[in-house]
């Protein structure tokens, strides 16, 4: 029986050398006076928890931590299960204590704080469920999330042994669309949508994860950073340095995921971490932004006249490029990839689109293909820093430096 971690082993704390009876007589009665919020556990000698600490202990004791699944810069991921039901698996993401003083200097990492903040608020079948948060004695924070044994969409797209079709794509897009609509209806921008943040649950449901770059909608006049969203999925307004933007940024990323699901390769991938290169790729894939197709674009802070002049790609181009999507599917894709964010569909309009009402019907969840890298892959996914691509770390840019920028 440990002494409360908050009690320093100072000379005044001599409990340890006392007889149990005496120690007990000095100890506060904690179960009776705290009955308002805890269900009177048997009194244990020497336990001196704050109410908040007691609540925390109760949560922490619900779970048993198992083997390590993965490790990232800021977090370790473990498999775990409910103490009361070992068959009920969970993943426990434990934020690391930075070992260097300069990394500790900011206190808790901002990405972690955001992730906890938003996941605590958002509860939806297509958003990864935060089951509990608790702390351990060494002052690290543990997030208990659902267990994802089936990897993520990025792997599934890459795994040539997995065959999937238009009906499956429609099912996944439906899940993604509902997740994003739900975020926006809750006034939250995700700002890092990409296939490897879409985890595949045991039942086949695809769930949006990693809220480390998320934020609430800003006031209309307040600036936001434009250095968010992993480069390949970043919309042109952010590449041009827009400081005021909307849910349209997430819709662009969703469009890129849609295209990638259909092509099985990223639609606008750049082998460079320069925003200009990404813009050129977008010119090629979607069209060159100009005042005509996007009034006001030239007044964005980092606007530049593009060398590559490509007229906005028309329906025929998309039909040829994405034959499996069908006419309605192509229509939706084009609506999500409008250069001008004001003309882009909203998440709500995505869900109301005619594509959902034409054949094929989305595959039922239990019949969706779900091979993947399994649990180890989940460890990596969940532990990864936001804004970073798994395989192209070297070429990728800028979003991952967010917190380093804050440190300097």
């Amino acid at each position: 029986m440990a002494v409360s971690p908050l009690l320093p082993r100072s000379p005044s704390n001599i409990n340890a050398n006392m007889s149990p009876a005496k120690a007990k007589s000095l100890t506060v009665r904690n179960s009776s006076s705290a009955s308002a919020s805890t269900s009177g556990k048997p009194t244990q000698p020497k336990q001196e928890f704050d109410l908040a600490e007691k609540m925390n202990e109760e949560i922490a004791s619900k779970y048993v931590k198992g083997k390590k699944l993965g490790e990232g810069t800021f977090a370790l991921v473990y498999r775990g299960h409910l103490r009361s039901d070992p068959s009920h698996l969970v993943a426990i993401k434990k934020f690391k204590i930075p070992s260097q003083p300069e990394q500790r200097s900011e206190g808790l990492n901002v990405d972690s704080i955001r992730e906890i903040k938003y996941l605590q608020e958002l509860s939806h079948p297509s958003i990864v469920a935060l089951l509990d948060v608790f702390s351990t004695k060494d002052e690290t924070i543990n997030m208990v999330i659902e267990y994802f044994p089936n990897g993520n969409l990025e792997q599934l797209i890459k795994d040539q042994s997995v065959a999937y079709g238009a009906a499956d794509v429609k099912a996944w897009m439906g899940m993604l669309g509902r997740a994003i609509y739900f975020c926006h209806a809750n006034f939250v921008l995700h700002r890092d949508i990409k296939p490897n943040n879409l985890l595949i649950a045991a039942d086949g449901e695809v769930k949006l994860a990693d809220f480390g770059l998320a934020r609430g909608f800003a006031d209309p006049y307040a600036n936001m950073t434009h250095v968010v969203i992993t480069l390949w999925y970043r919309p042109p307004e952010l590449l041009f340095g827009a400081r005021h933007y909307s849910g349209a940024v997430d819709v662009w990323s969703m469009g890129m995921v849609f295209a990638e699901l259909l092509l099985r390769v990223p639609y606008a991938a750049t082998m460079s971490d320069k925003e200009i290169a990404q813009l050129e790729t977008i010119c090629e894939a979607v069209g060159t932004p100009n005042e005509e197709n996007w009034p006001g674009v030239s007044s964005l802070p980092n606007y530049m006249e593009m060398e590559k002049q490509v007229p906005v790609r028309g329906r025929d181009y998309y039909m040829a490029k994405f034959p499996t999507a069908g006419a309605q599917g192509v229509d939706l894709l084009m609506a999500m990839l409008k250069l001008d964010p004001n003309k882009r569909v909203t998440a709500k309009q995505v869900l109301e689109h005619a594509w959902w009402r034409v054949e094929p019907r989305p595959t039922d969840r239990e019949n969706l293909p779900k091979q993947g890298g399994g649990a180890e892959k989940m460890g990596e996914d969940v532990a990864r820093q936001p804004g970073v691509l798994a395989d192209h770390d070297k070429f990728q840019g800028v979003a991952r430096r967010l917190d380093f920028a804050a440190l300097k």
């Binding site: 006076s33 925390n56 206190g107 704080i113 351990t136 002052e139």
Partner: protein
């Protein structure tokens, strides 16, 4: 999905909304628990002294042992009422602190920090942790949760008399007290939207306003209401007892009750008699919240005699708190260090730590290998 459903799924509703009875009883049990712990802590000191004295008296026999008073018996602990006054002092300190920085910390962020502090002290007592230890940390945490993050070194530079380690030390404790919920839903934006809607309704002749300058009247009411939200709403329990939309409507009610009633009428008249009971309930709720807001009197608003009285009372509580502050929790930096050290002992050898450090340095080098550095810096994420 209607807005009420969204609000009901928020942690503010699920964890931080109470009936006034539940709120009072929670504070009561926090107070009782803390009081007993303070007595126990003083008791330990007393026992330690006894042992010491006994040892000393072994050496010099014959001298009196029971010289001093018994600190555990004498210690008079704060009442719930007094604790609340101390927390209020912390809240007003946050408002002041945010004002003195350049640029000032936005009011919404200060409001978040204040609510963090108020939530924290539902399950913690000022006798255990004095608000002066917690409040700058609450303010710093609010800058991180509400996207106004500035480096800690800049933060402490802006606020005289603070040190980085003191801001950092209680962060974890605070998060725990907040039950790891960091979202605070404020009524300020709702008020702005509501005022905009009132003006629109007036233009469209859906809302009648008397008087020579109806638009000016709306503007005045909006300013007063916003003042209520910035101070009275932060210094009272309204966030625990009401929803954000009830709070802004109440602020409008407190500022200009005819205007607030006209607005409610424009929203509810067409619902007919079926909504009568709902409307009565709504008006009652908003009225009671409005009363809380308008009954709050800040020190600045009080007259001279009242101000003296308030200061005197605060001094008395301050002295009392000085005597019953839990002696084992005074130095939070030390407490935190102790805690982390306890856990880390043996878990990681020095050698491992060094190799990890090397690895991190190497990774950092690789990451920052681009001589041009990151292409862009953000100012406010």
């Amino acid at each position: 999905m209607i807005e009420d459903d969204i609000y009901r799924s928020s942690t503010q509703y699920r964890y931080w909304s109470y009936t006034s009875e539940a709120l009072a009883s929670l504070r009561q049990s926090t107070n009782e628990l803390a009081s007993e712990r303070v007595r126990a802590a003083f008791g330990r000191i007393r026992d330690a002294k006894k042992v010491q004295n006994a040892q000393q008296s072994d050496h010099k026999s014959g001298e009196g042992v029971e010289g001093g008073q018994d600190p555990a018996k004498d210690v008079e602990t704060l009442t719930v009422e007094e604790e609340l006054r101390v927390v209020h002092w912390g809240c007003s300190k946050i408002i002041e602190t945010g004002k003195v920085t350049t640029p000032p910390i936005p009011m919404e962020i200060r409001a978040t920090a204040i609510q963090f502090l108020r939530r924290f002290y539902l399950t913690n007592s000022p006798m255990t942790y004095h608000p002066k230890q917690i409040l700058t940390c609450a303010l710093f945490l609010a800058t991180k949760t509400d996207h106004w993050h500035i480096p800690l070194s800049t933060f402490v530079d802006k606020i005289p008399g603070t040190e980085e380690k003191d801001v950092r030390a209680p962060e974890f404790l605070l998060m725990q007290g907040l039950r790891f919920t960091l979202d605070v839903r404020h009524p300020m934006r709702g008020l702005e939207g509501g005022v905009g809607e009132i003006l629109k309704l007036f233009e469209e002749k859906m809302l009648r306003l008397d008087g020579p300058d109806p638009k000016g009247r709306v503007g005045k009411a909006a300013d007063r209401a916003s003042q209520f939200l910035r101070v009275a709403a932060q210094m009272t329990d309204v966030y625990f007892l009401y929803t954000p939309s009830q709070i802004w409507l109440a602020a409008l009610m407190a500022a200009d009750s005819d205007l607030a009633n006209a607005y409610l009428a424009s929203k509810m008249d067409h619902l007919g008699p079926a909504a009568a009971s709902l409307r009565a309930k709504l008006e009652l709720t908003i009225r009671s919240c409005a009363d809380m807001l308008s009954n709050y009197k800040s020190e600045d608003e009080a007259n001279e005699v009242e101000q003296k009285e308030m200061k005197k009372e605060m001094k008395r509580i301050g002295r009392k708190l000085h005597l019953c502050q839990n002696p084992e929790k005074m130095d939070l930096v030390a407490v935190t260090k102790q805690k982390t050290a306890e856990k880390r002992e043996g878990s990681e050898s020095d050698k491992e730590r060094v190799s990890k450090k090397r690895k991190l340095e190497r990774e950092k080098l690789e990451r920052d290998g681009d001589v041009f550095g990151p292409s862009l810096k953000n100012s406010n994420a």
